[in-house]
């Protein structure tokens, strides 16, 4: 029971890295901020977690139980503060506190798991699996909660769930043994950083493409991206047979890069086209993260400190990914907007609708695009074109929708390809340190 509860706490905290992605449009509507500012809901949590993971780990190795308990209570309180925040600044502040408290929970949980399971290797296995499941399931869980109960429910629901972790303290007697702290595994942590940066595209951009680009409901988008965590969990479960560890990590990286490149070269708009890339990404994520985290922790003392290094590396990677990919994506979004407007206008001018209607329809589209831009959404072409019974208008609506789908999908392309490249770079520390990784 304590093992499951500790794993649950780790999963909940690490899910917070990506859980609000699907809720971003609703948060934007609630606080009315710029798109670039909105990204701080994600960046603040990951940055705080990355910066505080190592200090938290050093404190946690001496007093794991109190650090875990305080971390859980503060994390729950910060979650409620996020849900009830009257301002965007308050929400970001709440996310920072969540990140700091989350670092304490995750690092202390590794030491407590070691005591609960009686072996460092078993503790690391549970901790790694919980982390992968949490990070990968985050967008799906967030989507389901956002649609059913609103974005605030993500924070309302996680507060009592994470508090359940306190029950784990009843069954674990943690007696810290002072150990000298060894040097971190640079190759594994560097690869974790790069892979996490690449996975930003899968965990964040894909969700934005599904909801804001292709106008899927949050619940549907949440279900679509469930494919990735399922594949990740299956790969973590069955990938253990791949040895040595560097080969498992390299296989994972190649699948991640392939999945991201396929998302960058989608042949058509539609959730179905994301399924094969998601399977590759999920399998790659499961293989690479489990192999690299295992290598970073295996046989190294103190366990919590090396757990802290992996958390710092992974979440610094997320911040790096957000900083690198967001400008590419936003620049391409503006470029695609211009291309889509020109292609849409051409579709109107070349259409079979009455000539005198063309100017009016072109203007209506422009007004709809401006209104949609203010609300960070895609215009409803059918609504703008109207006349659903006239074949000429039906053809025009279909042509416009096609151009819109092409423009939206295309605007994500370079960011996915850049993420694939970032993922491939992770092969360097894996291959260069393969003797160390395979030992």
């Amino acid at each position: 029971m304590p093992i499951a509860l500790l794993g649950l706490s780790v999963g909940i905290v690490l899910a917070d890295s990506s859980v609000v992605t699907i809720a971003l449009p609703e948060i934007l509507a609630r606080y009315d901020v710029e798109l670039a500012t909105l990204a701080w809901v994600l960046t603040s949590f990951n940055l705080a977690l990355a910066l505080s993971a190592l200090p938290a780990a050093f404190v946690a190795r001496r007093r794991p139980a109190p650090v875990f308990g305080v971390g859980i209570v503060v994390f729950a309180a910060a979650s409620l503060a996020c849900a009830l925040s009257p301002s965007f600044g308050g929400l970001v502040a709440g996310r920072v506190v969540q990140g700091v408290a989350g670092a304490a929970v995750v690092c202390a949980a590794l030491d407590l798991l070691s005591h609960a399971t009686g072996a460092d290797a078993s503790a690391a296995r549970v901790w790694i699996l919980a982390g992968i499941a949490g990070a990968a399931l985050g967008p799906a869980a967030g989507g389901i909660l956002t649609q059913l109960l609103g974005w605030e429910s993500i924070f309302f629901v996680q507060a009592p769930v994470v508090l359940l972790g306190l029950l784990a303290l009843r069954g674990v007697r943690a007696v810290p043994v002072p150990e000298p702290v060894e040097r971190p595994h640079l190759g594994a942590n560097a690869a974790l950083l790069l892979i996490s940066g690449a996975l930003v595209a899968a965990l964040f951009l894909l969700v934005i493409l599904l909801i804001n680009g292709w106008r899927l409901e949050p619940l549907a988008a949440g279900l679509v991206v469930t494919i990735m965590p399922l594949a990740a969990i299956a790969a973590t479960r069955f990938g253990g047979a791949i040895t040595p560890l560097w080969a498992r990590a390299a296989s994972g990286v190649l699948l991640i890069a392939g999945g991201l490149a396929a998302l960058g070269w989608l042949p058509h708009a539609g959730a179905g086209w994301t399924v094969p890339p998601q399977l590759a990404l999920g399998a790659g994520l499961g293989l690479a993260l489990s192999a690299l985290s295992t290598r970073a922790l295996a046989g190294r003392s103190a366990l919590a400190v090396h757990g802290g290094w992996t958390i710092a590396a992974r979440h610094a990677g997320v911040v790096l990914g957000l900083l690198l990919l967001t400008p590419i994506f936003t620049t391409d979004l503006h470029r695609s907007e211009d291309n889509a407007l020109a292609a849409g206008t051409a579709a109107v001018l070349d259409s079979r609708i009455p000539p005198l209607d063309k100017i009016g329809v072109a203007r209506d589209i422009l007004v709809a695009v401006d209104e949609a831009k203010d609300e960070a959404r895609i215009p409803d072409v059918q609504e703008v074109v109207g006349e659903p019974d006239d074949p000429a208008y039906v053809d025009l609506a279909s042509a416009l929708q096609d151009q819109l789908d092409r423009a939206v999908t295309n605007s994500f392309s370079r960011a996915f390809l850049a993420a694939a490249l970032l993922g491939l770079v992770a092969l360097a520390p894996i291959v260069l340190g393969r003797r160390e990784v395979g030992s």
């Binding site: 791949i242 080969a247 498992r248 390299a250 296989s251 994972g252 190649l254 699948l255 890069a257 392939g258 999945g259 490149a261 396929a262 960058g264 070269w265 989608l266 042949p267 058509h268 708009a269 094969p276 890339p277 590759a280 790659g284 293989l287 695609s336 291309n339 889509a340 407007l341 020109a342 292609a343 206008t345 051409a346 579709a347 001018l349 009455p354 000539p355 005198l356 209607d357 063309k358 100017i359 009016g360 072109a362 203007r363 422009l366 151009q403 092409r406 423009a407 999908t409 295309n410």
Partner: protein, 147 residues
């Protein structure tokens, strides 16, 4: 090593299939070159003839400015878009209007030569093209929707 080779093969196969299905070219359609020759048709109905004249005029102006005719249509969609367009292309609104107006006059000549309109209608259209502001003309055409 077998696992690495299998993963590499799966990743490459996925990418190759997506590229083969058109992944690299799934982008908005390119707009037509306004300087390219477009054959003059003789459509039935005054509104269709007027449309062809306007499109031909827009092509002429767009070709001289080095933009697409769609960009000019979007520029005339409102005051803000017109200001933005003229600022971006370093011309005044008056110069832009003159470009479209001269294109209109040339297109009316082309239509008359091709027999799409008779001399009386051509004179009438030339008069309209010389006097009415281009933005106003587009407004007028927009208001005629449904008639």
């Amino acid at each position: 090593m077998r696992a690495v080779a299998l993963a590499a093969a799966a990743a490459v196969a996925l990418v190759v299939v997506y590229l083969a299905l058109g992944g690299a070219s799934y982008a908005p359609a390119k707009v037509a070159n306004p300087c390219a020759h477009r054959e003059w048709r003789n459509p039935k109905g005054l509104d269709k003839v007027a449309e062809q004249i306007v499109l031909s005029a827009l092509d002429g102006a767009a070709c001289k400015l080095g933009v697409s005719r769609e960009e000019i249509v979007l520029a005339f969609a409102g005051r803000d878009s017109l200001k933005r367009f003229t600022r971006e292309h370093g011309i005044s609104e008056r110069e832009l209007e003159e470009l479209v107006r001269s294109g209109l006059l040339r297109a009316v000549d082309d239509a008359e030569r091709a027999g799409a309109i008779n001399a009386t209608v051509a004179d009438l259209l030339r008069g309209v093209a010389r006097r009415i502001p281009v933005g106003g003309l587009l407004d007028l055409l927009g208001q005629l929707r449904g008639f």
